[in-house]
């Protein structure tokens, strides 16, 4: 696979991972019956704001820097979902940030109300994100205005700017929202991801009272993701089932759930994050760098056709690499040390008083 495409899966996988952590915590706070876990969920949400905000920015700038021509897809086919996402994200940020603020001021009832109100917005953000993701890879809802051979030829010859210059009203794609949102791949895959979020949350917090639910959720998640990719994203399915590493990975997830629930394994939170990140990267590798797989048989088109010019890519990769170190390393470490650890210390000292 082209190294730049692989590189892009780092910000994408990281954002998916931290969003799964946030979604799991936000949804569980109002329904979790156990105070000891709920306190940690609140702390995690309070520690995540900087990571979520910066990861999203990192993802968008990486997309811009690595795939310049993909702007035609975002501007002509995905704009509706992306702009609605902005609206929902605004409510999501406001409610979660206010909930954190109320928590800091010790107004726990208000914070619970705000987190409860945030839940539908978290789910909608997740669903829209999932729809964009499945549309780009499967091609559902993304129609081509021009013949595929013309588009491919223009991209191969790096002539998009020339075509745009000669025809400023050029349109390459068009959206079909019904197909984009209501295709079965989107829904089956989304439910699979929701099941994974349930597994993730139980493993991350080590909720031993819900071990069986975690195992069931992981099993369902694996089945749904495998079935959906078998039917609608065969490049991913075929790459996964023939890969021993994938099966070892699945086993590790079950072992991690067990160890996290009953053996108080050290660094269970970090391990859960790491393996989710790894799983997302593996998904990226299994796509073999192909997109629009279902709408353009037999295996879609290579995303390498959409790469920015080599000069800008080379210079940008250095900067994006440094930015990645700051987000995945610096901001995460600071958030853990300053927000989460300090919060835990405060709770412990209050209990000891």
């Amino acid at each position: 696979m082209n190294p730049y495409i692989l590189f892009f899966f780092i910000p994408l996988a990281w954002f998916v991972t931290v969003f799964i952590l946030e979604a799991g915590s936000a949804v569980m706070i109002p329904i979790c019956r156990y105070d000891k876990y709920r306190e940690r969920m609140r702390l995690i949400l309070g520690s995540l704001w900087a990571i979520i905000a910066t990861s999203l920015v990192y993802l968008v700038v990486s997309l811009n820097g690595i795939f310049a021509p993909i702007m035609f897809a975002t501007g002509e086919a995905l704009y509706g979902l992306l702009l609605v996402l902005v609206i929902i994200l605004a409510f999501h940020h406001y409610l979660i940030a206010s909930g954190e603020g109320a928590d800091t001021l010790g107004k726990y009832n208000t914070s619970k109300k705000l987190f409860t109100l945030a839940v539908p917005f978290v789910l909608i953000v997740a669903f829209i994100g999932n729809t964009i993701f499945t549309s780009v890879f499967s091609g559902y809802g993304i129609g081509l205005k021009l013949p595929l051979s013309t588009v491919a030829s223009v991209l191969e010859k790096n002539e998009l700017s020339v075509v745009l210059h000669s025809n400023p009203s050029l349109q390459v794609f068009y959206p079909n929202y019904f197909s984009m949102i209501f295709n079965p791949f989107n829904w089956v895959f989304f439910i699979g991801i929701v099941m994974y979020v349930v597994y993730f949350t139980i493993t991350f917090y080590g909720i031993k009272e819900r071990f069986l639910l975690g195992a069931l959720a992981l099993t369902l998640s694996n089945i749904l993701i495998l079935v959906s990719t078998r039917l609608w994203l065969p490049t991913v399915f075929n790459s996964a089932i023939g890969n021993a590493g994938f099966w070892i990975y699945i086993i590790i997830l079950y072992v991690l759930l067990y160890l996290s629930s009953f053996r108080n394994v050290p660094f269970k939170e970090a391990l859960t994050i790491f393996f989710t990140f790894l799983g997302s990267i593996m998904f990226g590798v299994f796509t073999q760098g192909n997109i629009l797989v279902d709408s353009i048989p037999p295996s879609g088109i290579p995303a390498s056709l959409l790469l920015t010019n080599p000069t800008s890519l080379e210079v940008g990769a250095v900067i994006l690499g440094l930015a990645g170190l700051l987000v995945l390393g610096g901001i995460t470490a600071i958030s853990y040390k300053l927000f989460y650890k300090k919060g835990v210390e405060v709770i412990v000292s209050k209990k000891n008083q």
Binding site: A53, Y58, A68, Y79, L83, V86, L164, L320, I334, F339
Partner: protein, 456 residues
Amino acid sequence: MSLFVFDRVLAAYTMGVHVLFTYWAISLPFFIVTAEYLGYRRNDPYYLALAKRFSIVMAVLFAVGSATGAAIAVEFITVWYKWMYIVNEVDILPFEIEVLAFFTEVIFLALYLYGWDKMGKTAHMIIGLLIGLGSTGSAILIILVNSWMNTPTGFNVIEFANSGVLTDINPLATLWPPIASAEVPMGVAGAWFVGFGSLAGYFAFRMLFKRGLTHDEVEYYNRGLKLSIFLAALDAIFLAWAGDNAGKTLYAIQPLKLATLEGLMYTTRGAPLVIGPISIPAGLSILVSWPPNPNALVLGYSSFVQSDWDPIWWLAHNAYDIHAILGIIGALVFWVLALGIYFKSSFLNIEKKLTQYMAFIAGWLQLIAWESGWIAAEVGRQPFIIWGPMFQTSAGLYAIQAAMLTSEAYNNSPDVLPIGITIMIVLAIAVAGTLYMLKRLFEGKEISQDIIALRR
């Protein structure tokens, strides 16, 4: 409303809301660190209370500024995607470096907020300054992209304007387009001035209109007002130079934009400086030339082909007039107030109502100056979204060869309209919600409580 107009209104509105938050992100760290320094140096709990309370304000405004920044970023890749495609191919490096600056700001903001009483005083203040460097660096890098739109570099712009072929791409050359020499100082000095000015406006407002001020509150607001006036007056020197430099640079590099902003219809020697009803003979010629020359020739619209004239030049010109008038009044007011306070004038003492009213009015008017200056800069670039080389036609007129026209770059899908209106409403709610949140955060948290805690 046509989609061509609506898309621009949406971008202007979103950016207008975003820049409302950015000037505080750029100026607040310097205000806070100066207050912290004075607090330690003079062993003054009121200055330390200023620093502590405003660091919370800074965090809330930072969060909302980030959210509005994300909104404009998504609009770029959806509503202005054709423009963004060209930016991605040639000028993405400033955006990528801006991410580094933004992340630096986030890291140091977190360290600063949690570093109170947990690290050395000097180290804490240095971290505060690094937040300011991060936010100022972010602003500079975004202004560089705007400068590139006005004077594109880093590729063969003539060939691109002729045929659309992208050749000789050199991302490093995009890092200082020629007009950046005017835009960067103006943007940074302006942001600091509006930040310090509006802080002065806030403190003056509290002193004038809050009933039953306690002794602690009077001392607290006094110091806040004094510090913001001094910082605004200091920055006004930088701002005056930046404004003068911007005029001279536009004259040399973008004479058509200068004609638009000044509303100069005819090419003139000894061009007057017209600001609202006031006309200063040969003022414009003197200001834009170096050494100052009252007979300098200033190109007006009559020297350019009509198709390149800004179709809404009157908007850019009037916005520029408002910007210039309010900016000059603001600079003069803050200089006078700073001198009055420094020399302990009995007339312009910090506790005099006159001083407070002057700071209140001049301070808050800077918000209008800021927004109108931004409108003038953006509207003054029309009809181009990416400017191109200037050449002379056979008729002896000048023309600009467009790298990309604004009318070629917008999204003409009708779906943008309802979603865009919703985004505008949501952003308005976000601003109101932020003010409400700030009010709630400080409810029941009296200044005197902070002072008692700091005296312990």
